[in-house]
Every structure is written in C-alpha cells, then in structure tokens.
C-alpha cells in the first residue's frame, strides 16, 4: 500500500505551515470559541456519565430530577456497586465478595485475576490486624491453590506470602501491600469488573475529554501562539508568554 | 542422436492478456537432486582458462519461480580445495519474474544483450524487449531461462580471492538437460561462459530421486 497523491500534497502543505508559528490574539480566539456550538444535552450526558461511573448515586438521582437527563444504567445497581467498593475500601473483603456474588455470581467465576486479588486483600487485612495464625491458615487454604490453578499468579503470591515472614511488616520490602492505596487498587478492580459485566464502560468519558484537550493544546503549541487553558479546574484562558 | 523437432516451437502469445499466467514446464531433468557438470571459461585478454564446474539442484518451488542449489568450481587458481557456493535462482516464468532483472546493476539493455546470446531466445526477443516478456506463455517452451545468484561461500572464506557479486544468465534445455550461462558482473571480465551437461554419474540412463517437505 502507499499514500495516494492527495494525502502527500496535504502533508506537504502542513509541513510548510509548521515552519512558522501563527499568532492568535485573545479576541480572535474567543470569537472562534464562541462560534463552536455545544448542545446542552451532550454536556448533561457527560455529567451524568461521570456521576454514574464514579458511583455518586444521590447526586445522580438529584441531577436526573433537575436536568431530566436519563442515566444509561439503572441507578439501583449503582448503589450495590458502591456498597461493594466501600466494603473493600474499609477492608471488609469477605463482605464485598458476598455482595459481588449476590449481584452477579459469574463475575468472580470468570475473573480469576480479580478473585485472586480479593483473596490477596483478605490476607493483607488479616495481617494488618495482627491475626497471624489465621493468616497463615488462610494463605495455605485459600491463596496457595490460586497459584496452583494459574501460574501467572505465582510471582504476586510469593510477594504477598512474604509479608508473613516479617515481624515488623511496616518496614519490610513488600510493605507497599499494606498501604491503604492497595485497598483502593483492589476496589477499583472490582468496580471495573462490575461495570463491565453490566455492559457499562468502566472509565467515565469526562476525564478523556480533558486529556484530549491537553493533547490538542500540546499539538497546537508547536504551530501557534494562542490563549491556553493551564488550570483545568478554572478553565481560564491565559495568554501565552512569548 | 537427438530427434529433430519437426514443428515450430515459438511460444504462443495470449492475445489481450497483460500478464502471462504461465509457469515453466515441470522438467524432470531440472528437478531436485539432479547434477550437472561442465566448465566455466574465464577467458580474459591474456589467457584462456576454464574451471571445471559441478552444479546440483537442491530446491525447487515452481509456484514462486524459485530454484536453489550449489555450485562447485574445481581447479580454481587461488584455492587449495574446490570452492563451493550456494545459489538461488529466479525462473523467468513471466508470472513471478520476467526477462528484465531489475536489480544487481543490470539494466534492461544488459538483460537483452545477454539473453540474445542464447539462440533459443531469438523467437522471444521482440516481445521481451517491449515488456520483459510479461505477456508470453512459456509453459510449453522447451527452454527454461533463469538467473542464478550465488548467496554465500559454503566451504571457504570471503577472502578466498573470488567474488560472488554478479549473477548468471542461464538457459536450460529441457530436451537434454544441458545448461548454458553467462556470468554478469560489472567488475569482472564479461560474458564468462558456463556450459554444463546433465550427468548420469556413470549410469547408462537417467536416475531421479526426490524428497518431499511436509
């Protein structure tokens, strides 16, 4: 295959343009921005999508009443999902597992990696609470078989089990496992698996838009001077320092 | 005594087609395992010398117009032992390859100049000059044209004093298995002639062996 001539010409033109940077004044820029039409419904959908994916049930409910935007999932399922996420974040992994199985018994049966991580988190919580004997038994009964069933877990398994070898767990090489952030990691994994099983996209669209904005500005920086958004939370236009 | 071919054996041109969908005849004398021996004359202005040459066919893939084998040159001045090279061949079947080489520093003029040295090429010359012979159907032509390019030395180093930078224009006769060729290399003396005959290795007749790759 080869590039047809029209595309080659276009690329050549773009290259020519890139040679010199264009300067755009704030007035011109704001005018261009105003010319772009965005529909309110689209913005509402974005907000709703964010609230639903992140699990802000009450906010989503209120927003739906006030704006009339329909969420693309049943808000009731969000409640279940949020309860599960919260359980993990509080270290109640067994409770979370029961809730997941009530919600959809296939999830853990078809996600060996997730199941392993939940069991791993259970072990971590036992160690954190100083229940070492229980932890040892749990590791043998519940965690070791996962390594036998699936070789790709062996490395992580070894790391986790290493926690048992240290008296002062907060200062050992694998102490990162005890971070609260590890709970969040596991919680996100569960959240994503549930969303997937409900055919919902697991990442909200809103952050992707912001990433796209940053990327587009970076691309444009090479070719023009224009008022940029440097602070995403305020979204103020700032003149470039030439 | 060879039998005279009573009818003309000019290849047919498929009218109206832009590329001949022909493949060379599956000629048993050019199949794997077949051996040939003869000479390559390396005449230059000073002297007329000839090396004894043995060739054996090792691989043959007609669908892709591919051939390969080894070439052994004996009584080569600079070498103590016979020099063996491995070569790969392009069969001019007008499907995979045409008479135009298109590489190895050979221009179309060079190509025609060499092919013309084979008598069996004359009926094809006019069409070949136009488009390399793309529209010719050589499937029933009793000669097979090839280019043989040596790829590496098998048993000596590259410092043996010989070069394999060029390639051979080759004409094989299906009737009796004889091979004629000319070596082309801008940096060597031109038109070194290769003349080989099918050997029967002391037999009274022809013997054929084969392998089949899975």
């Amino acid at each position: 295959m080869s590039l047809p001539w029209t595309v080659i010409r276009q690329l050549a033109e773009i290259e020519d343009m890139a040679m010199s940077k264009k300067v755009i004044t704030r007035e011109e820029w704001e005018k261009k921005l105003n010319d772009v039409k965005i529909r309110k419904e689209d913005m509402n959908k974005l907000v709703m999508n964010f609230l639903v994916t992140e699990g802000y049930v009450d906010a989503a409910e209120k927003f739906r009443m006030e704006s009339g935007t329909e969420p693309d999932t049943d808000l009731a399922t969000i409640t279940d999902r949020m309860a599960i996420k919260k359980a993990v974040q509080c270290g109640n992994v067994e409770d979370a597992i029961e809730k997941v199985n009530d919600l959809n018994p296939e999830i853990l049966d078809t996600n060996p990696q997730l199941f392993f991580h939940l069991q791993q988190q259970r072990l971590i919580e036992l160690i954190r609470n100083g229940k070492i004997e229980e932890a040892l038994e749990f590791a043998q009964e519940e965690l070791a078989p996962r390594g036998e069933e699936n070789q790709s877990f062996l490395e992580e398994l070894e790391r986790t089990v290493a926690l048992l070898a240290f008296d002062d767990v907060s200062n050992c090489p694998v102490s990162d496992l005890l971070d609260i952030s590890h709970r969040s990691k596991t919680a996100s994994e569960v959240n994503a698996a549930i969303l997937t099983s409900q055919s919902h996209e697991k990442d909200p669209k809103f952050p992707s838009l912001l990433k796209m904005l940053i990327w587009a500005q970076n691309q444009l920086d090479e070719k023009a001077d224009y008022p940029r958004i440097n602070n995403l939370s305020t979204a103020e236009l700032e003149d470039s320092s030439v | 005594m060879p039998v005279r071919v009573s009818e003309s054996s000019v290849p047919s041109q498929i009218s109206g087609s832009s590329s001949g969908q022909s493949s060379p005849p599956a000629c048993t004398l050019l199949s794997v395992g077949q051996a040939f021996s003869g000479t390559q004359n390396v005449s230059s202005v000073q002297n007329n010398e000839a090396w004894r040459v043995n060739v054996r066919i090792q691989g043959c893939d007609l669908d892709h117009g591919y051939l390969c084998g080894t070439m052994e040159a004996l009584n080569v001045p600079m070498a103590d032992t016979p020099v063996v090279t491995f070569w790969e061949g392009e069969i001019v079947d007008t499907k995979n390859y045409t008479f135009f080489t298109g590489k190895w520093d050979a221009t179309p003029e060079d190509d025609i100049r060499h092919w013309t040295k084979f008598q069996s090429f004359s009926p094809l010359m006019n069409q070949a000059k136009v488009d390399g012979g793309k529209s010719l159907d050589l499937s029933n032509y009793p000669y097979i044209f090839m280019r043989w390019k040596e790829q590496y030395f098998v048993n000596v180093g590259t410092d043996c004093g010989l070069t394999i930078a060029g390639f051979y224009y080759v004409c094989f006769s299906c009737a009796d298995g004889s091979i004629n060729g000319f070596y082309y290399d801008p940096n060597s003396s031109p038109f070194q002639k290769l003349e080989l005959k099918s050997t029967n290795e002391g037999r009274s007749g022809f013997s054929f062996s084969s392998y089949e790759l899975q």
Partner: protein, 653 residues
C-alpha cells in the same frame, strides 16, 4: 473468618444444607455459594463430597413447593449449580448426572424474573461446556422455545439461546434450519443490545455461518448488507472481546466465501486488530493468535500483509514474556507456523529473531498441545531449503529434544515430531552421521512398524527424505537397520500412502552410484519382485520411478526391469507399462517413458534386443502417440525414446 473450624468442615456444611430451618438452609446455601465461586480447588473437593446432588434435591423441592418464599432458595441453589458447572468438566458432569438440567429448564417459565434470570444463567453456563446435552433443532417445539429465548428482554435468557446455538449447531443441515427459522434477524437485533448480548450473538453467528456458503450468502445480503456492516463496525468496538469475536466472524466468512467481502482494506484491518489484541493479558490475548492463524491459513497474500505489519516480530516478542499460559503459547506457535508456511522471508525473519531456542524449550512443555504446536512451527520453518542446505537445524540443541518426542506417550505428538523430522533430515551436505549418532534411524525404523497408520506413513516419509542423496555408507547403515523384511511389508502395506512413501524410499535408495541398485536385488530380488507386483495392482508413480532408476544401471539391471515390465506371453495380461503410458497423470507418463529411454539407452549391448521386445509389446505404437503430448516433459522423452529406437537401423516401427 477462617474457612475451616470445628463446625466448618465441608462435610458439615453439606449436612447443614438439609436443615429444616428455612433461614439456616438459606444461610448454608449462601455460604456454600460464596466458598466455591472463583475457587476451582474447592469446587472439585465439594463435587467429590457429593455436594451437587444435595443442592439439586433442595432445588427440586423448592420448585415443587411452589411457595413464593422458596424463590430465594431457588435462586441460591441455581447459582451454586451454575458455579459448579463453570469451567470444570467434573462439575458439569456432576450437575448433569444429578438431573438438574430439566429442573433449571422449568425455571425459565417462572413468574419471578429473578428466578428466570438465575435459571437461565446457570443453563447458559452449562451450555458453555461441550458435555452439555445436544439440542435438537429439528424438533418444532425446540425451535419455538429457542426463538422465544432469543426474544426475551432478560439478558441471561437471550444469552442462553445464543449459547445453545453455539454449543449444538454443528452440521450444515442445522445451520440451514436455524437460518430458515429467522435466527439471523434475531441476532441482528441482539447486536444492537448490550455488550454481553453482542458477544453472545457474534459467537453464535460464527457457528451458524461456518463453512456454509449458502448461509453466508444469505447473511451478507440481508437487509442491504446492513447485517454485515454491523459486524464490520464491531471490529472497532471498545471491548477487546467483542473485537475478537467480530474478527472471528469475518474470518469465517473470508475462509468460505472471500468474494462476499468486497472491502479491500478489510484484510489489513483484521490483521492489525488481531495483532493489537495479542497485548491483552487475559483470555482475549490467548485466543487472538488462533484467530490470526485461521485468518492467514493457506492465503499467501494475507501472510504477506501480516509480515509487512511485523507479525513475526510481534508474535515472537509475546513468546519471550514469561510466564505464559499454555493456551497462549500454543496459539502463538500455530500462528507463526501459518505465517511461515509459504513465504521464505517470514521464515528468515523468524530465524533472524533467534527464537528456535524457545521452540525447542517448548518440546519439553507439560502440555501436549504446546509440544504439538512447537513441532508444527518447526516443520513450517524447516520448509526453507536454504536453511536446510546450510544445516541450520542440524545441531544437538534441536535434534535431541525433538527426537525424544518420538517416544512421547501421545500419538499426536509423535506424528507432529515426525513431521518436523521429515523436513530436517533432508541433507545435502552429508551431515547424516549426526542423525545416526542421535539414534534417529533406529527410532524411525521402529515407528515405521507402528500399529497406527499415521505414525507409520510419517516415519517412512522421514526415512525416504533421509535417504535422498545419501552416500553409500549411510545407505548401508539405514538399509541394515530397516531390514529387507520390514521394507517388503511397507511396500505391501495395507495403506496406500505408506506404500507410496516406501516406494519413494526405494527410489532414493537406488539412485546415486550404480552399486546402490543392488539393494533391490538382495535375497533373489525379492524387493524388485514385490514392486513389480504392486505396480501390476495399482498405478504408482514412485514405483515406476524405482524401475526407471534401476533401468539406468547395468545390463543385468535392465533385463530384470524389462522382465517386470513385460508380462510373459503365457499370462496374456496387458503390460502395465502400456497402461501407465496411457495414464491421465502426466507424472506417471513421464516416469513410464523414462523407463523406456533407460532400457534402450544407446551403447548398452542388449539395447537393440530390448527395443525389439518393447516394439512387439506395442510400446512404441503408444510412444508414437506421445510425441505431441500435452506435457512438455513427456513429449520430449517420447521423442528421445523414438530416436533411440531408430539408431539401430531397423525402421520397421
């Protein structure tokens, strides 16, 4: 909370299931459910303890009772049964043996949607196993039930319908009847549904259209090609699994009716997406190489496209990641094998990337599927004559583990290893002694006497290739190891392919120096006679070449061949030589006419007498007809033969 304690042994839990107290029963059910979901090891041990029949009887009772309060018990038991059947053959068997199937089917028509959902889900899981009972699509009621399943609003119910089709649709008659029942339209609707519905539909669709040009044509033309468009769009879906399934659907169409897919760039897109999917660490990444292999199989243009998209490099870099699941390794080797099946530059690239070591490591893998795939990959790469000539595979690193596979307990592994060995033994530079040292000849000879005909034919194939261009010493060693009697039985084997390879072996054996011809004369020429007998029974090109090769020897050899070719006057049988000269197969004609050329080769003393005998047998009349044979080779040899017959002066042909 620990899982085993004084009261918490598995046996105790099972016992508590049959508690009469409703609450306790429900609690135990949930406990069991939560123990086994995701836990393969626990499932297996509970199955052994008889948990499945216990749960099934609870389910049955609850369904019979008809209580609305029994719903929770039904839902939990159904979920447990579904989980037992998930991914474990022993579990599926236990579930089916316990009679749960019909009970679950009844749940589909329950009034409580949650019960319907639970029942459908578990049935769907059962149907994902090949052990599930086959669905009879030809029964009218069955088809009606199936269609109503596909019409349901409940995701798991439509999922069940789809998985039934995926499981049970195997023959073209079944594909036809499903198509006629309007299933394609149902799938079209489901393709607009949720991700799970889309995935299930794509999988089912692939089974309905596979290898069936009629169904494919109907699918492609449906609704102004909109059905097809929908599937093509899905190759860009955000979910990897959907992309993979859509690619597999399109591959199924491509493999059967390529002309239906007019989109020129589609091939490139499919390859690109499948190569991207390789990076997925989960099951999609495991399945992607199989889909790629299927897409490029037998299609040189696709293999070339894939090569240009760096497929060889991408697949090889996947191999280097450890640890890898066996399934993925198998898939990658099979994909590489397809890539290298026809194109030399693919093989060169693979050799350049130095992955042969990974291939040979895989010969010792636990999984027989992986061992087979590695052999197939090596077989494909070793089609490179250039590499064979350079002896690239002629080293201990490859030979030792490969030859070990000839003793593998699995027949399929042996056959796969033989395939690779057949290629590797092709030796142009007298490296044969290396083989003899590795004991391969002994092994091959042993396997040539196997009860399994596939093993036999491949072993003899390897021997035939091994003896090609072999020097005298090697030939002698091989012949002695094989023995005349084994060779004879192979020439007269009950399977025709084995005979062919055995004759090919002899053909190579008698080539080379003239002394080699004597092999067929050992023990009073018993081998030569056997070959003559075989040729009288059936046309065999290889056998004819044996005779032709022998006829290029001494006077004695030529006379012996003539004796085989021309029947004695008393028998009255037609000479098979005449039959072969008239054959439709140009290769057989070629071999036959070469024998005439050799028998009457000039400068052999008895040539003239043989010419006369051949003429009397009507051979030359036939040869005259062949001077304008459609095959150039035959034509030229016929002319040579005629020419030779005329050099003796007597022109009364």
């Amino acid at each position: 909370m620990p899982t085993s304690g004084p009261n918490n042994k598995p046996e105790d839990l099972i016992a508590r299931l049959s508690s009469s107290d409703g609450e306790a029963k429900l609690k135990s059910l949930r406990e069991l459910k939560n123990q086994i979901i995701g836990n393969r090891t626990k499932k297996l041990s509970y199955v052994k303890l008889g948990a499945v029949p216990a749960v099934v009887s609870i389910l049955a009772l609850a369904v019979e009772s008809g209580d609305s309060s029994a719903s929770s018990v039904i839902i939990q038991s159904a979920a447990i049964i579904g989980s037992f059947a998930c991914g474990i053959d022993a579990g599926v068997r236990a579930v089916l043996d316990s009679g749960s199937f019909s009970i679950l089917v009844r749940l589909i028509s329950h009034s409580n949607n949650k019960v319907v959902d639970a029942g459908a889900r578990s049935l769907k899981i059962i149907y994902q196993s090949k052990l599930a009972p086959k669905y009879d699509f030809f029964q009218k009621e069955n088809m009606e039930s199936l269609l109503s399943l596909l019409n349901s609003e409940i995701e798991n119910v439509t999922g069940l319908g789809a998985s039934i089709i995926t499981h049970s649709c195997q023959t073209s008659a079944e594909q036809k009847i499903l198509c006629e029942a309007g299933v394609l339209k149902k799938f079209q609707k489901l393709l607009q549904g949720s991700q799970n519905q889309r995935d299930a539909s794509l999988e089912s669709l692939a089974t309905i259209i596979k290898n069936n040009p009629v169904v494919i044509s109907e699918f492609v033309e449906a609704d102004n090609r909109q059905y097809l468009r929908a599937v093509i769009e899905l190759i860009n879906d955000r979910y990897y699994r959907t992309r993979l399934l859509a690619c597999m659907c399109l591959t199924a169409i491509w493999n059967t009716s390529p002309s239906c897919l007019q989109d020129v760039g589609l091939g490139t897109k499919l390859i690109m997406i499948l190569l991207e999917l390789l990076d997925d660490p989960g099951q999609v990444g495991d399945d992607a190489p199989f889909a790629l292999a299927s897409l490029i199989a037998e299609k040189e243009d696709m293999q070339k496209l894939a090569f240009e998209m760096d497929a060889v490099d991408k697949l090889c870099s996947q191999l280097r990641k450890t640890p890898l699941q066996a399934k993925r390794i198998q898939g990658i080797f099979l994909a590489l094998a397809e890539l290298c099946s026809k194109l030399e530059f693919c093989r060169s690239r693979l050799l350049y990337l130095q992955v042969l070591e990974l291939v040979t490591d895989a010969f010792a893998h636990d999984s027989s599927e992986v061992r087979i795939a590695a052999c197939i990959c090596l077989k494909s790469v070793s089609r490179s004559v250039k590499s064979l000539s350079a002896g690239l595979f002629m080293n201990e690193m490859i030979l030792v583990p490969l030859i070990k596979l000839l003793n593998d307990y699995s027949c399929s592994v042996q056959v796969a290893a033989l395939g690779a060995i057949s290629n590797i033994v092709v030796d142009f530079a007298a490296r044969r002694p290396t083989f003899v040292q590795c004991g391969v000849v002994k092994q091959l000879v042993h396997l040539s006497t196997s009860m399994d005909s596939t093993v036999r034919v491949n072993a003899v194939w390897a021997l035939r290739n091994l003896v090609f261009l072999a020097d005298g010493g090697s030939k002698e060693g091989i012949f002695l190891e094989l023995t005349t009697s084994t060779l004879l039985s192979l020439i007269c084997d009950s399977e025709s392919p084995v005979q062919e390879q055995a004759l090919g072996f002899v053909r190579n054996l008698v080539d080379g120096c003239v002394e080699s011809i004597d092999y067929v004369f050992t023990e009073d020429g018993v081998i030569l006679h056997a070959i003559g007998r075989q040729l009288r029974r059936a046309s065999k090109t290889e056998g004819m070449y044996v005779l032709s090769n022998v006829a290029s020897g001494t006077e004695l050899h030529k006379e012996a061949v003539l004796h085989q070719l021309l029947p004695s006057a008393s028998s009255g049988a037609q000479s098979f030589l005449l039959k072969f000269l008239q054959s439709d197969d140009s290769r057989l004609r070629t071999a036959a006419v070469w024998s005439v050329v050799n028998l009457t080769f000039p400068c052999s003393p008895g040539a003239y007498a043989r010419v006369v005998k051949l003429r009397n047998a009507g051979i030359y009349s036939q040869v005259k007809h062949m001077v304008n044979d459609s095959s150039l080779d035959v034509k030229l040899r016929a002319r040579t033969a005629l020419g030779q017959s005329m050099t003796f002066g007597d022109s009364s042909t």
